[in-house]
Symmetry: C2
Subunit: 161 residues, 2 copies
């Protein structure tokens, strides 16, 4: 393990309201590169699935566009999908997010990309739920560990860009 | 206008919370018939669009299924879509509902069918929103008038079954 890997900052998960989750994570790469890793389907496929094979069936990254990703893991096949609410280049992606295992329970996930001015980028992701129970269900699903695995994979992708 | 048309009960719209809308409407038909008008695409197309042409592109009425309707009116073409959360035959349909004009802002719409025991059926529809602002936006969109037009068209469909 080298110094770069060690210096990856941990993500910070907070719950600003009883229907939201906020995750903040800094990346050792300029904003343009982080944006590219989020918006280029070939790059996204390398980290979003946490090391598992990810098939990007749709990724229409514009207002009103649809997206659908299918993750193939040792534990089965999991589909995720939603629709794009807003895209502001280099700045923000907001979309609904729904897991096939709980159809009809969308959340709104918004990622904001902040240039830290020193070559690093902060990504603040918020998830909005209809009810506190749905929010708590997500918290107890192991989502924090899954996000950290994705972010570690994203660190590796960014280091190679 | 005949007596049957005159006797159609008005719908009752209430706002049980600042993020929900509830609409109650009684129909002069037994529950099996009302259920059929909601679940048979050919019948649904006759009333859901309030007299406008409605193209039912998808209507996969099962948990996890997708639906998409396109209404063609004098004022333009409007697409609506979502995904099925739950279907309990004769009893309940719950689905997300999203208008193409506001993509990424789904609501959860749940219709409950109640047998009133006298040959009539009460349909209670609730809409759940993420925020009070989204709820108020729907209230001010003319949705109540639109629903009443749909329900009047449904009265006519039910009278012919």
């Amino acid at each position: 393990m080298n110094a770069t890997t060690k210096s990856a900052s941990p993500s910070k998960l907070t719950t600003p309201t009883d229907r939201t989750i906020r995750v903040e994570r800094d990346f050792n790469a300029p904003r343009e590169r982080v944006w590219k890793a989020y918006t280029d389907p070939q790059l996204l496929a390398q980290w979003w699935g946490r090391g598992n094979k990810l098939v990007i069936e749709r990724y229409e990254l514009e207002r009103g566009g649809h997206w659908r990703f299918v993750e193939h893991s040792d534990h089965g096949v999991h589909g995720f999908e939603g629709r794009i609410r807003q895209v502001t280049p280099m700045d923000l992606i907001s979309m609904t997010f729904e897991w096939d295992g709980m159809p009809g329970y969308p959340t709104v996930t918004t990622a904001v990309f902040e240039d830290l001015g020193d070559g690093r980028t902060r990504v603040v992701s918020t998830m909005q739920f209809y009810t506190p129970e749905e929010r708590d269900g997500m918290l107890h699903s192991g989502m924090e560990g899954g996000m950290n695995q994705s972010y570690a994979a994203l660190d590796a992708v960014l280091a190679q860009l």
